[in-house]
């Protein structure tokens, strides 16, 4: 076991969680993530292998699927992000690679991103101050890439109208956290 300590995207030893009005903003460094991109002409192989590895079919555009440890959301034609608990899947890329073989290109993405769970009954009021996608109309399992305050990010809907995850480039975690907090305060 190596001896290097990890820090969170916001720079702390522990994940940060804030409650502003009815909204909770929680940093989530405990999810490992890898990208999966279908090799040319290997769609069928990918579908099969993915079903076997994850236990579900890779989701359609704009959607997210999950089962057990695994979740996946669509990111582009023939491309997905796959996530699993960090504690058990820190080496997520080789695990996925092993399952997909040469049918897909797998790239470790865990630390490329900062994940924030935003929850609360008025979370949509907050999100509509931040991003152009219609968060009010998003249903559980909807997942899309968009931008918030000039930052490219993914917005995933976990529970319709209540729970979302915002995933942004790790280096900008502080700016994203600031943007989320300001928006939460303005509706608090």
């Amino acid at each position: 076991m190596h001896n290097l300590a990890a820090i969170t995207p916001l720079g702390g030893a522990n994940a940060r969680e804030d409650r502003i009005g009815g909204i909770t903003i929680a940093e989530k460094p405990d999810r490992a993530m890898a990208s999966l991109a279908t090799r040319m002409g290997r769609d069928g192989d990918v579908a099969k292998a993915a079903k076997k590895l994850f236990g579900f079919a890779l989701p359609e555009p704009g959607r997210m699927e999950s089962k057990g440890d695994w979740a996946a959301f669509w990111t582009g034609p023939g491309q997905w992000m796959v996530t699993a608990p960090f504690v058990s899947h820190e080496d997520i890329a080789p695990i996925v690679k092993a399952g997909l073989g040469d049918a897909a290109s797998i790239t470790e993405q865990t630390d490329g991103w900062a994940q924030f769970d935003v929850d609360g009954s008025d979370v949509v009021d907050m999100l509509e101050r931040l991003c152009p996608v219609p968060s009010r109309r998003m249903k559980a399992g909807d997942a899309t890439r968009t931008s918030i305050e000039h930052l490219g990010c993914f917005v995933l809907c976990r529970v319709t109208g209540e729970s979302f995850t915002v995933i942004c480039p790790r280096s900008s975690a502080a700016s994203m956290h600031h943007a989320l907090s300001v928006a939460a305060r303005s509706i608090a």
């Binding site: 555009p61 704009g62 669509w74 990111t75 582009g76 034609p77 491309q79 152009p132 996608v133 899309t144 890439r145 968009t146 931008s147 490219g152």
Partner: protein, 95 residues
């Protein structure tokens, strides 16, 4: 503007980055006799129509697809949106 993404539905054009005329797909043959002339024409000359224009947009804050958008430059009306990869293949581009 709103670009009706073939896979994702309507999206704010602010999520996209614009390149220009879709003829940029038709990159000339480097081994042609008059390759320099062809490349010059390909890269520098534009029809610049006042009306229907096929153009390339990149869904930078989205799924990273390049799209070919058919848009009227007088009214900004968009009549067709295609994945550029499909258009490129249809125009005979491959490997």
């Amino acid at each position: 503007m709103i670009i009706n993404h073939p896979l994702l539905g309507p999206r704010d054009s602010q999520e996209f980055t614009y390149l220009g005329d879709a003829s940029l797909i038709d990159r000339p043959d480097w081994q042609a006799e008059d390759a320099v002339d062809r490349f010059y024409d390909y890269l520098y000359e534009r029809e610049n129509p006042a009306g229907e224009h096929r153009e390339l947009w990149f869904h930078e804050q989205g799924d990273r697809s390049w799209l070919v958008v058919t848009r009227n430059t007088l009214t900004h009306e968009i009549t067709n949106v295609e994945l550029a990869r499909d258009v490129a293949r249809a125009r005979g581009r491959g490997k």
